[in-house]
């Protein structure tokens, strides 16, 4: 029994100590990720630490389950509620399943935001998207147009014809097409996000359109397959492959010149921005439609009617920075 009593007094003492300590200084912000050991999230943590350094009075708790399950994240959330952290910024494994646990966190006065992979509306105060469909649509066209000063034919290699994300991006891209005079979209084909089918579709484009100057693939599978097809056809320099890709997969294509540049969100910026938002909301910034909440060097997030915001244009990767990022994600 004496152990228990000792434990109780120690705990009480420690609680008192920590309570007064926390009151005086640091905000504890938990960055909850889908699973530990994923390069993308490790990079986001780097950004969070950068934000913490800049803010000065912030302690980052970087945590997440071992594998990408909602149940694992709920255990993590319960532990964070128990510790009475000031804010939780989560990239959710399941938008709905974690919502009840996060609601409990909010009831106990914890600021909750989601980033990257969102949480259902009732389970968070705001969600930070890495980018918006309009920004992505514009970026993928711009990446191709920037390297075509005289204009010319471009084609899109997408995922499946029913992929929601890709279809919205392509729709946004065609909307801004008139802003790029001389750029001629000749075809949109679908590789179904399968490496071999994407490769064959890209081959088809190369053969069908001899004047093709660029292939735009807004999918990580497609861009990789297209750059391979261009390389194999000996068209490096004639056809530029661009779109959305992962630095680790695209490093070879950038090196060979099949891809001059491509885009994807920058996880460091994302972790940084999420931390800034969590900090500011926890310090009293109101997360409501129309509100503009500052996020340090990333500008400010403007919330839409669903309390969602877009961080920025996708980040462009080329020869100058691919070495740095290819080991990250």
């Amino acid at each position: 029994m004496s152990i228990l009593r000792k434990a109780l007094t120690t705990a009480a003492l420690a609680t008192a100590l920590i309570a007064t300590g926390a009151h005086a200084e640091t905000k504890r912000i938990a960055l909850v990720v889908k699973a530990l050991g994923i390069g993308f999230f490790e990079a986001a943590n780097k950004g969070a630490e950068e934000a913490a350094k800049e803010l000065g009075d912030v302690e980052i708790i970087y945590t997440g389950p071992t594998d990408t399950t909602a149940e694992g994240q709920i255990e993590v959330i319960n532990a964070l509620i128990a510790q009475g952290v000031d804010a939780i910024a989560i990239s959710a494994n399941d938008p709905d399943a974690v919502a009840p646990a996060l609601q409990k966190a909010m009831e106990r006065g914890i600021t909750v935001i989601s980033w990257d992979s969102g949480v259902a509306k009732e389970g968070r105060q705001m969600h930070l998207n890495p980018s918006s469909s309009a920004l992505i649509g514009n970026t993928i066209i711009k990446l191709a147009a920037d390297h075509m000063p005289e204009g010319g034919d471009v084609a899109i290699l997408s995922a499946t014809s029913t992929s929601t994300n890709q279809n919205i991006w392509i729709e946004e891209a065609t909307k801004v097409l008139p802003n790029y005079p001389g750029i001629n979209l000749v075809a949109t084909v679908y590789g179904d996000d399968l490496a071999d089918k994407s490769y064959r579709e890209a081959q088809g484009l190369i053969q069908t359109y001899p004047n093709l100057k660029a292939i735009i693939a807004p999918t990580t599978v497609g861009i990789l397959a297209a750059s391979q097809a261009v390389t194999d056809a000996g068209k490096i320099g004639a056809i530029n492959v661009t779109g959305l890709g992962l630095p680790s997969e695209m490093a070879g294509a950038v090196e060979s010149g099949a891809t001059i540049s491509f885009a994807i969100w920058n996880p460091i910026d994302l972790g940084y921005a999420a931390t800034m938002l969590a900090y500011n909301i926890s310090n009293g910034a109101k997360a409501e439609p129309g509100a503009s909440i500052p996020m340090g060097r990333m500008g400010a997030a403007t919330l839409d009617e669903n309390n969602e915001a877009a961080m920025s244009d996708p980040f462009t990767y080329d020869k100058s920075n691919i070495e740095e990022f290819k080991s990250i994600f």
Binding site: A11, L36, G37, T63, A82, D94, A97, P100
Partner: protein, 331 residues
Amino acid sequence: MSDSTHHTARLIPDRLTSPLARALRSWEALLIVVAVAVFAINSFASPYFLNAWNLSDATFNFTEKAMIAFAMAMLIIAGEIDLSVASIIALASTAMGIAMTAGFDTPMLVAVGIGTGVLCGALNGFFVARLGLPSIVVTIGTMSLFRGISTIVLGDEAFTGYPKSFAWFGQGYVWWVFSFELVLFAVLAVGFYVLLHRTNFGRSVYAIGNNPTAALFSGIRVGRVRFILFLMTGLMSGIAAVCLTSRLGSTRPSIATGMELEVVTMVVLGGVNILGGSGTIPGVVLAAIIMGLVTFGFGLLNVPGIVMSIFLGLLLISVIAVPRLIRRWGK
């Protein structure tokens, strides 16, 4: 293997040593020591541990798994195993989602969830008890089958919007900090204790695990007992599916992924011989509490999940190895 000699001893003169000496040397005594140690270490390590509400939250780490572990313990004691339990949860949860979409209310949802579990268990039982197939092969098959059906139905969609009253099973409290799941866990623990340790059925489970042929010749309907055990594992998976779905408020095909191994770990840590023949329900209860406390304690210290897995692995190996080594040196 002195556990099995204990049992043969128990069967003939009832007891060779005094009950107290037996209790002190038992596996459960060791687990109590471990549980107290984990509790004490946690209390020292984190100021947030000794708080009624926090501890109550922590029980959700193990209640659903433990419900299945009770039935799994009996199954393993009988020399069988069911690796499809987590997939049964996925299928039962999907069935509840379909029922919810069709407009049924809470009582019907619970019935559908539990019913699906029982049906899945019956299928496993049919293959093993009736057709005589090895349970590990059958349940590896149904593990893919059940989750596969759920994946076909849902794809990357989810069922959400369960009725408010349904949330009570996973999020409601019976009294003060005692959640419905915790109370259910306690009631089931008592129920399974009585079933395994105080009934003829429980006795026959041990007999089958130790020697199915001898059990058969002594008049035990081995096939029927096995079938009932699979039915019970399915039933408990169905109940766990109701609780988990209610707690998550949604269904996705990935629900409860990997839970079967945690359940088996719990059972083995609880002192059940993986080869069958011995084990107790109190041991499983203690193992469940230990696993829950360890997970929660590490969570409070923000220890990365992988370290937690390593620790649980080491705990499992040491709890099993240490008593055997002591016995060997003692000779």
